[in-house]
């Protein structure tokens, strides 16, 4: 099985890459910027797991670069069985303190680029009449709070888009699901202040950060045939924050 994972050089995407490699997936590991440390990590992982991991570099904010990246993936002439639409950006700001330019920037990465990836990759899946798309959403798109106008609404959009795409692509044998992680122990998860983090713990049943590996296990399940009857769903992995 072959998987495309965006944002695979850090955080949840990186954990998904490791988990998928250990479960014998060949991977196109997408990241924005080439780096020696990432390539060395990929080489080691590839060797230790006995799978192929190819780095593919492109900036999700650049439509032409995304197309070039997907063309590169298609040039391998392999099936594309899984797309994990993971890359995203965080942003905190109230309605009055979020410039429209920032909203556009957040939507560009968290929404438009994800749609573009689904449009392009689903073409290959349409030809195959099979595939699984997993969009990394967020409980931030479900739980309405102050100060997350851009991020929260972009993730809410992704939840709706995931369900709509599941309906549209189902006819081609493509399943589309999402994962809504809660506060996760990644660089992005730590962009909140300590006080904000404590407030989240206070309203969560399991009072800790989620581990990126725990989110990755959810992605592995949704990608697998064990989830063959699941589409249009959002798997919430948040320690009981949104119940």
């Amino acid at each position: 099985m072959n998987a495309v994972i965006t944002g695979s050089n850090r955080g949840i995407g990186n954990a998904i890459m490791h988990t998928f490699a250990h479960n014998k997936y060949n991977i196109w590991a997408c990241a924005r910027t080439p780096s020696e440390s990432f390539e060395s990590e990929i080489n080691q992982l590839s060797k230790s797991c006995g799978v192929s991991i190819e780095p593919v570099y492109f900036d999700l904010a650049d439509e032409n670069a995304v197309k070039a990246g997907v063309k590169q993936i298609f040039s391998y002439k392999k099936s594309v069985d899984v797309l994990v639409n993971n890359a995203g950006m965080g942003h905190g700001g109230t309605l009055m303190m979020t410039p429209v330019s920032k909203l556009r920037e957040v939507y560009e990465i968290n929404v438009f680029a994800q749609i573009h990836m689904m449009q392009l990759i689903s073409r290959a899946m349409t030809r195959q009449q099979s595939g699984s798309i997993i969009n990394i959403c967020s409980v931030g798109g479900m739980e309405v709070g102050k100060g997350y106008i851009a991020y929260g609404s972009s993730k809410a959009a992704m939840i709706w888009l995931t369900k709509a795409a599941a309906k549209e692509l189902g006819e081609f044998g493509i399943r589309v699901n999402g994962i809504a992680p809660g506060l996760t122990d990644t660089e992005m998860g730590h962009y909140k202040s300590d006080e904000e983090i404590q407030k989240v713990f206070d309203r969560t049943v399991i009072k800790r950060f989620g581990k990126p590996e725990e989110i990755a296990q959810g992605a592995l399940y949704l990608a697998s045939d064990a989830a063959a009857f699941i589409t249009g769903q959002i798997l919430v992995i948040d320690g009981g924050r949104v119940i």
């Binding site: 197309k67 997907v70 063309k71 073409r123 349409t126 006819e171 081609f172």
Partner: protein, 79 residues
């Protein structure tokens, strides 16, 4: 197989039509060329000609003839 033969083959196989039906064939002109058939047709054309079409071109691809025009003008497919 030349490009026109390849183009016709994709149409016939993905939409289940005969060669005689191709001239003048338009989107929704046969039951199989609905929105689902359209996506399947585009995916098969992309594979056959090793191209990646722009969304605007997928929308404009409204007939057998228009498709040829788009492929020739924008994707260097010589018919």
């Amino acid at each position: 197989m030349n490009n026109i033969e390849k183009y016709n083959k994709v149409f016939m196989e993905s939409l289940g039509v005969t060669e005689e039906q191709l001239a003048g064939l338009e989107y929704t002109g046969v039951d199989s060329w609905d929105s689902v058939g359209h996506m399947n047709l585009i995916a098969c054309l992309e594979e056959a000609f090793d191209i990646m079409m722009e969304t605007d071109d997928i929308i404009d691809f409204s007939s057998y003839e228009k498709g040829k025009e788009i492929l020739a003008e924008k994707y260097d497919v010589a018919f």
